[in-house]
């Protein structure tokens, strides 16, 4: 499997993991102060940042060389 495919699989996993019906009625507090649903979704935010970091490494859609400037500039 190519790294880019792994990244897109991770994005799909994030979207599925976001629908956490398993914590719907869970009122536990993590570390005694952080509601578990909030902790879980804060974790989703961290995982999203990590996934997008991998995306910038393995499936960046445009090469870094700037396109020829203003070939058909309207100004």
């Amino acid at each position: 499997m190519k790294p880019a495919h792994v990244v897109w699989a991770l994005v799909a996993l994030l979207i599925v993991a976001h629908q956490d019906i398993w914590f719907w009625d869970d009122a536990r507090l993590i570390f005694g102060f952080l509601p578990i649903t909030l902790a879980y979704h804060a974790g989703i935010s961290l995982a999203a940042a990590g996934t997008w970091y991998l995306a910038t490494l393995f499936c960046w859609p445009v090469d870094d060389a700037a396109p020829s400037p203003m070939t058909e500039d309207r100004s």
Binding site: L46, P61, D73, R74
Partner: protein
């Protein structure tokens, strides 16, 4: 008065920043509208984040958590962390590449070329502007209300006590208001400014400040101001969290105070039992709106290079967490028995955070937090004003003039003139105080989201045709209007589209979906079906936009 002085000092700093940025202005329309494609990764991150986060990020997140519980983080924030970065990654980088190669400054210019249709702007321009105006109104009205509330006095025994200004300081039409429960009674100070800066004057001041730095600094001034303002509201959000946690928990250590405050949150606010899972799921479609925000499109075009997008793509979800997690916890704590929220504040959840700050943190932090809230509001307003000026010049005036194009200097003049006109129009509309403007906000976002299939197909689907694009816009507009009227024109804030299902699947006998899900389904079906039934775009267009797919 302390709060007013801090707010005044903050606005003065902002003006200085705008004037500073104007000294780097190169005098061309390209520089005014796109900062000459010179914005690097850090400024791009801060300006994009500041633009997408409105007043809702601070006061709204606390208010929603107070109303619905901590589940709102998943519904509104973590979903945005995934979807916003997806849009920057999939759409922003490609738009930047095409924009730089072909000199695009607005969405309409891109769609005209991609769809081989000079008239797409006639359909798209009014739809985009129509969706931005209520979004602008939210900012202008919210800024006036926030400044008024933090400088106003409190009501004791039917009188205003401790306001910044005595009755009679301002003309009666500015400081007197009607009792909403008895509209036939004569207006009074008690229902008006209540000793604070009158809302109309506060909104005018905010419009004036934003106008000055957008007028002078253009996109570069806007990017600098957004960066400064984003830092301000992020830092102040965290400081407010620490102070409120400590005061509310009332323990010797910060950690123990955190635990005491959270232990008091009622069970129903810790869970999501009152949020249908299918509503939670379909809320994920709302953040797709960033893909079609015209002001964000313009920000994407300011990037110095494709690499400049990497930092925003990665850091955006983290920034959302930094701002939202503390605010959501504060909102949940406010539902506990550690503090009594007065009924008028509880009836308006957006007032919960200002109330807690005033009660627990004192006037200095109150002043700084107000500056933070205004920062979040203005960092969206500035980009929207600049964008509308650019769109009017590029999408309306220049095409009308045909081959007799405006000179660069005249183009600048028209853009600046239209920005003044749009600020004046927005301010004028805000004086009418449309009551449903905040509910309208979600409808605006849903409208932009329903156009998401258009930008996605334009960038990734060579088979998209002109007719398919028109069908998409019309289906989005038609479904929006139909559902909007079904919601009693935003009169029903809890409106959902209910799909009947067997009770074996859902005990309620229906899935309650956000209206945006139905709109996206309609616009997607229209764009796919009509494109497949009509003549594909010409080889020249395919070669230009999809060089690897051309014959």
């Amino acid at each position: 008065m302390t709060q007013l002085l801090i707010i005044g000092g903050y606005l003065g700093l902002l003006l200085l920043l705008g004037i500073g940025a104007s000294r780097l202005f190169r005098g061309t329309s390209q520089d005014y509208m796109l900062a000459s494609h010179s914005i690097g990764p850090f400024l791009l991150l801060m300006s994009i984040f500041g633009t997408t986060m409105t007043a809702f990020a601070l006061v709204g997140s606390t208010g929603e958590s107070f109303k619905e519980g901590v589940g709102v983080y998943g519904m509104l924030a973590s979903s945005s962390g995934i979807i916003h970065s997806l849009c920057f990654f999939l759409l922003g980088v490609k738009v930047w590449k095409l924009g730089k190669a072909h000199g695009y400054r607005t969405q309409v210019q891109f769609f005209r070329d991609r769809l081989e249709s000079r008239r797409i702007g006639l359909v798209l321009f009014p739809v985009l502007v129509g969706l931005v105006i209520p979004y602008l109104l939210i900012g202008v009205m919210a800024s006036g209300t926030v400044i008024n509330k933090v400088t106003a006095g409190r009501i004791a025994e039917g009188k205003v006590v401790g306001g910044t200004f005595a009755e009679g300081t301002f003309p009666a039409f500015l400081e007197q208001g009607k009792n909403p429960k008895a509209p036939t009674d004569p207006p009074s100070f008690l229902y008006g400014s209540q000793g604070g800066v009158p809302k109309q004057l506060a909104s005018l001041a905010i419009c004036g400040i934003v106008l000055i730095y957008v007028f002078m600094g253009g996109m570069r001034g806007t990017a600098w101001a957004n960066t400064f303002q984003t830092l301000v509201f992020m830092v102040l959000g965290v400081v407010t969290f620490v102070v409120i946690a400590w005061k509310l928990g009332g323990q010797d250590s910060f950690w123990a105070s955190l635990q005491t405050a959270s232990a008091a949150i009622p069970y129903e606010k810790l869970t999501r039992l009152h949020i249908p899972p299918e509503k939670f799921l379909t809320y994920m479609f709302v953040p797709l709106s960033v893909g079609m925000f015209p002001h964000l499109f313009q920000h994407w075009l300011t990037a110095r290079s494709a690499s400049s997008f990497k930092l925003p793509v990665v850091a955006h979800p983290l920034f959302i967490a930094i701002v939202w997690v503390p605010c959501v916890l504060i909102g949940a704590w406010a539902t506990s028995d550690l503090i009594t929220i007065p009924p008028p504040v509880a009836a308006n959840p957006n007032a919960v955070l200002p109330f807690l700050v005033q009660k627990l943190a004192g006037p200095v932090l109150g002043g700084f937090l107000t500056a933070g809230i205004l920062a979040a509001i203005m960092s969206s307003l500035d980009s929207q004003f600049l964008c509308l000026g650019t769109m009017f010049t590029e999408d309306v005036v220049q095409p009308l003039r045909g081959s007799r194009r405006l000179s660069d200097q005249h183009e600048l003049l028209v853009a600046r003139g239209f920005i003044i006109a749009i600020v004046a129009l927005t301010y004028g509309l805000s004086l009418l105080e449309p009551r449903r403007v905040f509910t309208l906000g979600v409808w605006c976002f849903s409208g932009f989201s329903s156009l998401f299939p258009l930008i996605l197909a334009a960038l990734y689907w060579p088979r998209l045709t002109k007719a398919g694009a028109y069908a998409c816009v019309l289906a989005a507009a038609g479904s929006w209007l139909w559902l909007f009227s079904a919601s009693d024109f935003a009169g029903n804030p809890n409106f959902t589209v209910n799909i009947p299902v067997p009770t074996a699947i859902d005990a309620d006998g229906a899935w309650q979906l956000m209206p945006v899900a139905a709109m996206i389904a309609a616009s997607t079906a229209a764009i796919v079906i009509v494109s497949l039934l009509t003549k594909p775009p010409g080889q020249q267009t395919i070669k230009r936009f999809f060089p690897s797919r051309a014959d």
